[in-house]
């Protein structure tokens, strides 16, 4: 469920970075203001605990596969949402940097998907409401299970939306969502069960840990209102970023709207640059019409047949035709070779 850099656009990545950065600084402030400094090493070691915990698997009955702990929910239960969000953010950062799980640009998306939903939605609005101040084993299990599922479903939905807005993957919205939600229902159940198993153990062995955790943190009074206001704020940020994108590059938003309506027609923002460049190229080149002309024509004809606005037809497809593609491949291979050579030359210089 980790988003990868390769699948997101800079705008989506940037917007999610902004949202996540806001949340991190808000949580940092909260942790600094509200908590005693015993929490500092506790958060750090709990982050490491999540890594270690992911090494221990349990067998899922009747399937032959195994599951492990995800993290966001158990951290919220032990640390409270603010400290838990910082902790899960740090876990994901280390994963992005060392295991290249996700990516640096996608880090904002990942922290949001795997941190925000369990810590600020599933935990306060579901787990707290079910388990309450006087937890019993049954309440803990029910609470963990339901909030585990809810957290992961929301996260999966968010992955789908981010992918959709980025427009790199061709997956249609419905197909993608039908693929992601059932998978994450299963993962959510596993996450809920794993969390419940650990929390029930702690509840039996050292119940005071759960009690002191929920008392020491200001999670009891996080209201639905705060969450909704936060959501609105994020919507405004994201919407603002998107509309800025839309106004500077009208293709982007139109494209994503066309995408949801199932239409095939799409244009690339970079086409303009290509057009401009190929225009310059035509003027300066010795053999301006060099290229594999016939296939290129066929190509445009096919496209015109498919498209409704025929006026746009030829204009919108100059980016990829056979001539430029072949030269792209030749040139690409050459530049790669050049890059490798530069690498080798620099290496030799060193010794």
């Amino acid at each position: 469920m980790h988003m990868a850099d390769a699948l997101i656009s800079p705008v989506t990545g940037g917007a999610m970075w902004a949202a996540t950065a806001g949340l991190i600084s808000y949580c940092s402030k909260k942790v600094k203001d509200d908590l005693d400094d015993t929490k500092i090493p506790l958060m750090g070691v709990m982050g490491a605990f999540i890594f270690a915990a992911q090494m221990i698997n349990f067998t899922i009955p009747a399937t032959g596969s195994s599951g492990h702990l995800g993290g966001g929910l158990i951290l919220s239960i032990i640390l409270g949402p603010y400290a838990a969000f910082l902790t899960i953010a740090s876990v994901l950062t280390v994963q992005a940097l060392f295991f290249a799980d996700g990516g640096i640009l996608a880090l904002g998306c990942n922290i949001f998907n795997l941190g925000f939903f369990p810590c600020f939605i599933a935990f306060p609005l579901i787990y707290k409401k079910i388990a309450g101040d006087n937890p019993t084993q049954g309440k803990i299990i029910a609470g963990s299970l339901i909030s585990g599922i809810a957290g992961l479903q929301l996260g999966a939905l968010s992955v789908v939306l981010q992918t959709l807005f980025s427009g790199i993957s061709e997956l249609p919205f419905t197909t993608f969502i039908l693929m992601m939600l059932p998978i994450h229902l299963a993962i959510g159940i596993v996450e809920g069960l794993a969390t419940a198993a650990v929390v029930v153990f702690v509840f039996k062995a050292r119940p005071e840990i759960l009690r002191s955790a929920s008392e020491a943190t200001p999670i009891g009074n996080i209201s639905v209102k705060t969450v909704i206001i936060g959501f609105l704020g994020l919507a405004v940020i994201t919407g603002g970023a998107l509309s800025w994108f839309a106004s500077s590059r009208p293709d982007g938003l139109e494209w994503s709207m066309a995408k949801t309506s199932g239409s095939e027609e799409l244009k690339e923002p970079s086409n303009h640059i290509h057009e401009a460049l190929s225009g310059v190229q035509k003027k300066t080149a010795f053999l301006p019409d060099y290229g594999f002309k016939e296939p290129a024509l066929e190509n445009t004809k096919e496209k015109i047949g498919e498209e409704t606005p025929a006026v746009e037809g030829q204009e919108s497809w100059p980016a990829v035709n056979a001539g430029t593609s072949v030269s792209g491949i030749v040139g690409g291979t050459l530049t790669l070779a050049l890059a490798v050579m530069i690498g080798f030359v620099l290496k030799r210089k060193k010794y």
Binding site: K32, L86, A100, T324, I329
Partner: protein
């Protein structure tokens, strides 16, 4: 078991590379962080059917690897280890986008394949540059750079703590797994009750450890601030590094090197 241990070894190895000595190793971490961010941003800003224009960008990780004396194949292996996610999402593109966009003689390529190649290329470039960043800089220095760039201090301290205790707790969990494996005659399954009790114990130990660490830190006068012995500074080397690369990235973004080179070659051949 071997798998776990080797994974641990891997985290270590990546950070150890950072103790090397080269022009790029010695740069201020902020310079490398900012440049890598600009690099990733530029790479992902291309349209989704772009393949050849992405190739010149390979120069950034390649130059850093060769000047920094990093082991190329080791890093390549790390990148390929995490390839499956991008691969499986990307490989669906050819099925959904079957518009023929390119003809190469008798072979025709659909838009889906082109965007798939584009995804894989982006993946290699972005993941590669992130790993190179850590291998050239080291985690501690990256954290310090982050703090100087304005990331909230509690978060930076959190990252440092997490990294410090990662190894300790991974060791502890491996010992637990080994012990359980020996006592169950290497049976592979774990019931959820056993799982709960194992993890629960690990959690209790973790909490106790956190308390001990906190007391020890208080005794040593910790005030929530991690101090550095060697101060960070941005000098002319850093400025040249950042400006040089950023200029190169932007010119490669707007000037299509591969295509122009290819056209030139084709013209001369024909």
């Amino acid at each position: 078991m071997a798998k776990l241990d080797s994974q641990l070894f891997h985290i270590d190895a990546l950070d150890e590379l950072a103790s090397g000595n080269s022009v790029f190793h010695n740069l201020d971490p902020r310079a490398k962080l900012v440049t890598t961010l600009v690099f990733i941003g530029t790479v992902v800003s291309f349209g989704k059917y772009e393949v050849s224009a992405l190739i010149p960008f390979a120069i950034y990780p390649l130059v850093l690897i060769s000047v920094g004396g990093l082991p190329f194949f080791y890093l390549a292996e790390r990148v390929l280890l995490v390839a499956p996610f991008a691969f499986f999402i990307g490989i669906l593109n050819p099925f959904f986008d079957q518009t023929i966009m390119v003809h190469l003689g008798s072979v025709s390529l659909s838009g889906g394949w082109i965007s798939f190649f584009s995804i894989m290329l982006r993946f290699l470039l972005t993941v590669g540059s992130a790993l190179v960043l850590i291998a050239l800089t080291g985690f501690h220095a990256v954290c310090m750079g982050l703090e100087k760039l304005g990331v909230p201090r509690p978060f930076v301290v959190q990252l440092l703590f997490l990294y410090r205790y990662l190894f300790v707790l991974i060791d502890e969990a491996s010992r637990m797994i080994r012990a359980k494996s020996l006592r169950t005659f290497h049976s592979r399954g774990t019931k959820i009750r056993t799982f709960g009790s194992m993890l629960g114990h690990l959690l209790l130990r973790t909490l106790d450890r956190a308390q001990r660490i906190h007391l020890a830190m208080c005794c040593r006068g910790f005030d929530g601030h991690v101090r550095l012995i060697c101060p960070l500074k941005i000098g002319w080397k850093e400025t040249i590094f950042v400006l040089g690369w950023v200029l190169l990235f932007f010119s490669m973004r707007f000037y299509h090197i591969s295509e122009h080179l290819g056209l030139m070659i084709m013209r001369n051949i024909v």
